[in-house]
Amino acid sequence: MERMKRIPEPMLEIADLSVRFAGKQVLESVNLDLYPGELVMAIGPSGSGKTTLLRAVNRLNEAYPHCNTRGQVRIRLADRWWDIYAPSTPLAELRLRVGMVFQHPNPLPFSIYKNVALPLRISLGMNPKETLLRVQRALEAVQLWSEVKDRLHDSALTLSGGQQQRLCLARVLALEPALLLLDEPTASLDFKATRHIEALFQTLKQRYPILAVTHNPGQMRRLADRVMVLQDGRCVAAMSRPEIEDPEHSRRVMEAFF
């Protein structure tokens, strides 16, 4: 008899998640498990609730008015399960462990260095020396260091779109999150910058479980290990890697829902 293979535990469990904004149903009964080392992609037309799904994981929907969330989202940190919506879960600390990159690059109007350093100093209470090291490592990880090392104290707003997005990624990586949420991170970038960032994600997914969102089937084909198709807030189809790689199959799924 074959020895039973140990099933790895997921990092993130979304169970029966529903979100409403001012009474309008935006997500309905969404379920998802995310395992270590994989990149799961949610794909769907705009307005299908992709961003809302990501924001449900770090409770960012609550930053908007009239939001009502039901269902369960649990995350495993240091071998302990945390219910994200439990009142006892410290919110700011949770958000530190769940890194999010937004659809549009959103550097703060500080210097390049301060953008990465500020959360380290404030949220992690790091001393200046540690911070400097961490910032450098994070900027190297997104291959931005060589481009900005001589102008660290220029405003982050002077960077190009692709550079800004990599800066935002570095800012998140510097916090050493347990999980990455990527919300159409290349939507506002040109072709070259997109490829650059996609290559980064290929390497990052070895180290972080990633939940990403896109509306671009090509990107999905290049990056995703698993795909869930969202439509009007509901998960209407799922694909595994072999299915994604089968051009016929994925085309059929896409055509059915787009």
Binding site: A63, L94, R95, R97, M100, F102, L108, F110, S123
Partner: protein, 282 residues
């Protein structure tokens, strides 16, 4: 020419009239202080003693009084206003935010004479009792009440800046795990410096220009106060007192000089606000 063709010209005339009015007021004031320049009268006005019946018309004590009261009011109101603005923009729960903001707006409409009146019967006796010195009409009393008067100006200008910043930075910072107080300290406040400066400058203008509060509460002694509990007199109160008491016209030079100084302070403030850029009207 029919009515519709005439209209733009009428509008233009109105706009010109508004512009001319500002210039006209300045010209009249300058015309009135002109004798001071020709007769070398500035020396008698720029002096430390106001003893009009002995021919001493110095208004420097009033300049100092104005500065002390206005700066004192700023020192009290600015931290309070920063707290209120941050409270309203970031910390306040939904309903309280609305109430608080409406109240601050409402404060702008409370007549200054009411602040003065109420303070005479509420604050002045308290000050007299607590410190057991003087009449209670003092620099300190006027400063406290004046800070309440300029508070809404500062809060509203500051909050307008905070609102813009908050719109772009709130979600980003939440996602980075900033607690809301940390967000206030490390992101909002460092980024709103320009708006804060504009707010403070506007508040200073309000404080310097107010008449009734200092007139009713500061005691009006034309001297440099030695302690916060001493009485003092501001430029605005000086104008009111001298003109309203039907004094001899030889006193008027000092009053016109005071008016010109106030006007020039306002010009300076406008220039500073222009330099800061943007529009900062509460």
């Amino acid at each position: 020419m029919d009515g519709a063709k005439l209209m733009p010209h009428l509008l233009r005339a109105a706009a010109l009239a508004c512009t001319a009015a500002a210039g006209g007021i300045l010209l009249v004031l300058i015309y009135l202080v002109l004798p001071l320049f020709t007769s070398g009268g500035w020396g008698s006005v720029i002096a430390w003693q106001w003893l009009p019946f002995q021919g001493r018309f110095g208004i420097l004590p009033m300049v100092v009084g104005t500065l002390l009261i206005a700066l004192g009011a700023l020192a009290v109101a600015t931290p309070l206003a920063v707290g209120v603005a941050c409270f309203v923009q970031v910390l306040a729960p939904g309903r309280i935010k609305g109430i608080c903001l409406a109240l601050v707006h409402y404060m702008t409409s409370i007549p200054t004479v009411i602040y003065g009146f109420v303070s005479i019967f509420l604050l002045v006796p308290l000050i007299r009792q607590w410190f057991d010195r003087g009449t209670g009409f003092s620099l300190a009393t006027a400063t406290i009440v004046l800070s309440l008067l300029i508070l809404p100006t500062i809060v509203l200008v500051l909050q307008a800046t905070l609102r813009e910043l908050d719109r772009s930075a709130r979600v980003t910072c939440a996602a980075l795990g900033f607690s809301r107080p940390a967000y206030i300290r490390h992101v909002l406040l460092p980024l709103c410096r320009r708006g804060l400066l504009a707010a403070v400058v506007l508040g200073f203008g309000r404080a310097v220009g107010d008449t009734l509060i200092s007139l009713m509460l500061a005691g009006n002694a034309p001297m440099v106060p030695a302690s916060p509990l001493d009485a003092t007199r501001t430029l605005t109160a000086h104008i009111a007192l001298v003109v309203a008491t039907d004094s001899q016209s030889t006193f008027y030079h000092s009053v016109f000089a005071a008016g010109l100084i106030l006007f020039l302070v306002m010009v300076l403030i406008q220039l500073i606000l222009r330099r800061l850029g943007g529009t900062f009207t509460p």
